[in-house]
């Protein structure tokens, strides 16, 4: 009689082997599926030869564009013969170096005579020729005799080739004139030479490669991603669809280990696809002799291929994690595909950024996901990649991958996914039948996703009100803030049947906390202000002279209205309304899903990001100070269990700052703002820091017994 389960292997030696065997199953399952094989093998084999043929065709067109055939139209054969003679004469003169080497030798001319009844303009307009030439013929041309000719050039409007042919013809006719005059002068003065001679030389810019080359990293990386899409869906959403998820989750294996196995499988398939694409591309380039056209004189070397492969590895690691994070929450293939379309579009959009000439891999772009890897791939193709930036790009990509994997591990197999009626996206659309105390994290995220673009666009509208009076602008700003941060969340809460007081965390805190709250409201602004100045001084964002003038004009404009109007419109209203959303709705939504620390962190980062957006532009220097302010507000809200405290604190903070700005001249007279206007006096900073410490300690002590 067996009373206990079979004994498992020792943990130390079983984990790696277990992951290996779990991965092997995932690979077996994926690689036996013909859909994976099609993506893995058939697509690269078909795509690259087709792309290669396309590239070759474009290269031929390119070559043709460099030595185009220009059709010259004449009214008579004599005129054509005269021009032909002019061309031959100038060619001969150029070869004997008697005239400047300024003619376009790559142009080739065909001569056409207009048919009866068709004028030259009609011929050109009908597309039969690129340039019309009409000549008044009186005498045949000779080398020396100055003979009067009137040459009329007729161009096709807006045609660059017609313009190029016309310019060429003008230069040649001018050369005929010059050499004729020169010969005449030389007859009298044999030692005569033209005072100025000209020569034009063209050089290829450094690093210039085919324009098509810019597309190659995008094609390569997108094709690589394509390989991971199907396995990612199959191994996550597929588990739900074929009802194997429950038995999988019943295994005594941590979720992260199961997910690692799936992750390794997706990476392997993605890498195999990448390798297959690289191989197919190399073979195509080699067989169609496109190395020179695409990669310059060095061609496609083994070293470039190796570097590209390493970039593909980084890209596969990143995208496999991103794919799993998305598909882990899907319950069917269809749902997963719907999630992936935006991701692929997101991947394509930055792909076009790298085609722009001004975008380079810098310290900033090296940390932007997707763009960094695409730029690195492009630089590797061009042979201009910097090792340090490459390392930064790959390093940050790996970091983002870890984050995605962590998210995927949290989502995959979560209890909500096992229960059909809960956690569906549809729940966000259908109006609930029952009242709830707080929004779900998904609902909070959904509202946030809607609010941010609305806020962004609204900020732009405010900027368009530059010509309105200051009173109108302040009123509009206040109304907009109320509508955005109170109106929309409130409507959302009503629609979702959320209890208003608990959703927005409107609660009466203990009266003992108020001294701390008010002190923090009064004391924080100098430190926050200094942080902004500090961030500016790091060079992240310098205030331009134009912006300084604008700020000065704004401050002067505020003086036209009573100070209380400015304080209400820009201090109290934003303070209260922003808290209504950030420490109210968003806070309660995140708190329903996660712990206090993560909630404070999440609301603070969102708060910081919102403050980067300014009317008519961005202010990245505000990100860190605003996020820190958000952390403080979040902590106070968490401790006091209410957004009312932070609304008051935020309002006091904004109002104090505005009053200080309004009274800055008076303060300057008291020499408290010092000669160096950008910095506050040290005493202010110290007082602010002490105020923050005392305020935080006060709140901590007064809420110690009943933390929320």
């Amino acid at each position: 009689m067996t009373q206990t389960a079979e004994k498992p292997c020792r943990e130390s030696d079983s984990v790696s082997r277990q992951i290996f065997h779990l991965t092997r199953k995932e690979l077996r399952e994926t690689l036996r599926d013909r859909r994976t094989i099609i993506t893995l093998l058939a697509m690269p084999l078909l795509l690259y030869p087709l792309l290669g043929l396309g590239f070759r065709y474009m290269a031929v067109l390119n070559a043709r564009a460099e030595t185009p055939h220009v059709r010259l139209a004449f009214e008579s054969e004599d005129e054509a013969l005269w021009v032909k003679h002019v061309l031959e004469t100038t060619d001969a003169l150029r070869e004997s170096s008697e005239i400047d080497d300024i003619t376009d030798a790559r142009l080739e001319f065909d001569f056409l005579v207009a048919e009866d009844g068709m004028t030259l303009p009609e011929s050109l307009a009908g597309g039969y020729a690129e340039l019309g030439i009409r000549i008044s013929m009186t005498e045949p041309i000779t080398r020396t005799g100055p003979r009067g000719r009137s040459v009329e050039l007729i161009q096709v409007a807006g045609s660059s080739i017609s313009q190029r042919a016309s310019d060429e013809m003008e230069r040649r006719l001018a050369a005929i004139n010059v050499i004729t005059l020169s010969d005449i002068v030389k007859d009298t003065y044999p030692e005569f030479n033209l005072p100025v001679t000209r020569k034009i030389e063209t050089v290829e810019p450094v690093g210039k490669t085919s324009a098509i080359l810019g597309l190659l990293p995008l094609v390569l990386l997108l094709m690589t991603v394509t390989g991971g899409v199907y396995p990612a869906i199959d191994l996550t959403a597929g588990e739900r669809e074929r009802n194997t998820l429950e038995t999988l989750m019943a295994l005594p294996v941590p979720h992260i280990r199961l997910l690692f196995a799936k992750y390794f499988a997706v990476i392997t398939v993605t890498m195999l696809t990448g390798l297959m694409n690289l191989l197919a591309m190399s073979v195509t380039v080699y067989s169609l002799q496109l190395e020179g056209t695409l990669f310059g004189e060095n061609g496609l070397t083994g070293l470039v291929l190796l570097k590209l492969f390493l970039v593909l590895v980084a890209f596969a690691i990143f995208f496999s994690a991103a794919l799993l994070a998305l598909t882990s929450s899907a319950r069917s293939f269809k749902e997963a595909q719907a999630y992936l379309i935006p991701l692929l579009l997101l991947a394509i959009a930055p792909g076009f950024v790298i085609l722009l000439p001004d975008w380079e891999l810098t310290r900033m772009t090296a940390i932007v996901p997707i763009i960094n890897v695409l730029m690195l791939a492009r630089d590797l193709f061009q042979g201009t990649a910097s090792p340090l930036l490459a390392l930064a790009a790959v390093g940050t990509t790996l970091l983002y991958s870890s984050l995605f994997l962590f998210i995927a591990a949290r989502i995959f197999g979560a209890d909500a996914m096992l229960i059909g009626s809960r956690g569906q996206w549809r729940d966000l659309i259908d109006r609930p039948t029952e009242f709830a105390r707080t929004p779900t994290a998904a609902a909070a995220g959904c509202l946030l996703a809607c609010l941010f673009p609305v806020y962004f666009v609204s900020s732009g509208f405010l900027q368009r009100m530059a010509d309105a009076s200051i009173a109108q602008r302040l009123t509009a700003s206040a109304l907009l803030t109320i509508a955005l941060f109170v109106g929309i969340p409130l409507l959302f809460a009503i629609w979702r049947r959320l209890r208003v007081l608990s959703t927005f965390r409107i609660a009466n805190p203990a009266s003992s906390v108020w001294p701390g709250v008010i002190l923090l409201g009064l004391a924080t602004w100098p430190c926050i202000f200094e942080l902004v100045v500090l961030v500016e001084s790091t060079g992240l964002q310098k205030l331009t002279e134009q912006n300084m003038d604008r700020i000065q004009a704004l401050l002067d404009a505020w003086r036209q209205v009573p100070i209380w109007v400015v304080v209400v419109a820009l201090g109290i209203v934003p303070g209260v309304c922003e808290e209504f959303f950030f420490r109210g709705f968003l806070f309660s939504g995140l708190r329903s899903r996660t712990n206090g620390l993560l909630t404070v962190l999440g609301t603070a980062i969102t708060f910081g990001l919102f403050h980067v957006v300014l009317a008519g532009g961005a202010a990245p220097e505000r990100l860190i100070p605003s996020t820190l302010m958000g952390l403080l507000l979040g902590w106070v809200s968490l401790r006091t269990g209410s957004m009312v405290t932070t609304a008051i604190m935020h309002g006091i903070h904004n109002s104090t700052l505005l009053i200080m700005a309004h009274k800055r001249d008076e303060l300057a007279n008291w020499t408290v703002t010092a000669a160096e206007q950008s910095h506050l006096p040290t005493t202010w900073i110290i007082a602010s820091a002490i105020g923050i410490v005392v305020g935080v300690s006060w709140i901590w002590l007064t809420t110690r017994k009943s933390p929320t």
Binding site: T2, A5, H21, K25, R28, E246, E434
Partner: protein, 291 residues
């Protein structure tokens, strides 16, 4: 003979069995285990105590459910759709966290030893699928590794289960090609690859023909002989009568009645489980009735 009171307040104290009704070794073991001795209480392989699951303030799936199952006992957790059977099994498996209460498998609590709990349970669910591109042998191997078994144990268990479940003919055939009955046999083998002391059977005969269902019955009997504690969730009450030693009748998340079939008959005055159910549920809409 005792039955649980309908308000379920005294569920933690299992009913004492009348000695006159003891007819087998299993019954003796059962009666011994129901005594209050802490030492003997360890005979309870599964001990569920006030287990509650609330999905939302208004949706209570399982309400303070308590019952125990001993080694070598088949416990039928019966109830109409939405009674909370599957939710209970998922909580026992650690797939869903309970809102309150606890359950123990041997000495391990589902609250703080989920991995140990999972090691001791084999789940057979009618809705469970198989990996279509793998063969049954690979499925068994995969789950063997999942349960942390050594390779030689996996091989031995695969051979044993292949013989018992008679899946040898299609052991190396892709799962996509198997019939419903064959799939269910492989599923049963998969759930038992680690030879667990506790087996949860969720609608084990759904979709099976008479012969297929008979295989499940035969194997359940064998598992009982081997001393496994088995919980069967089903709404096929005739099958439950054949298969189970004791029953827990669940309705709207609450345990309404518990006991052997004789005890239930005495308590309800009804002859069959179907009649007992209809009496328990009362006048309800047709769709709420058990199938």
């Amino acid at each position: 003979m005792n039955l649980l009171p309908s308000d379920n307040r005294d569920r933690n104290k299992p009913p004492l069995t009348d000695s006159a009704t003891i007819t087998s070794v299993r019954d003796i073991r059962q009666s011994v285990c129901y005594s209050e001795s802490p030492f003997l209480r360890e005979c309870h392989m599964i001990h569920v105590q006030k287990l509650t699951k609330r999905y939302s303030p208004t949706k209570l799936a399982v309400d303070e459910l308590s019952f125990s199952v001993t080694s070598g006992e088949v416990y039928g957790l019966l109830g109409p759709n939405g009674a909370g059977k599957t939710t209970t099994l998922r909580m026992l498996l650690g797939l869903l966290p309970p809102t309150s209460g606890d359950a123990r498998i041997e000495e391990h609590s589902i609250m703080n030893a989920p991995v140990e709990i999972k090691r001791r349970i084999g789940l057979v669910s009618a809705s469970a699928g198989l990996y279509q591109w793998l063969t049954p042998r690979e499925v068994l191997e995969y789950f063997g590794w999942g349960y942390g078994l050594k390779p030689d144990v996996i091989r031995r268990r695969t051979k044993e289960l292949t013989d018992v479940m008679q899946i040898g003919d299609y052991l190396d055939q892709r799962c996509a090609t198997l019939s419903t009955g064959q799939t269910q046999r492989v599923n049963l083998a998969r759930a038992l690859i680690h030879d667990p002391p506790v087996v949860l059977l969720d609608e084990p005969t759904r979709g099976l023909d008479v012969l297929g269902a008979q295989v499940i019955f035969d194997y359940a009997a064998r598992l009982r002989q081997d001393g496994k504690a088995i919980i069967v969730c089903t709404h096929k009450l005739e099958e439950a009568e054949r298969l189970c030693d004791r029953f827990g009748l669940l309705h709207r998340g609450r345990l309404q009645q518990e006991g052997t079939i004789e005890e239930l008959r005495a308590a309800t005055g009804e002859e069959s489980l179907v009649e007992m159910f209809l009496k328990m549920i009362g006048p309800v809409k047709t769709e709420e009735r058990i199938a």
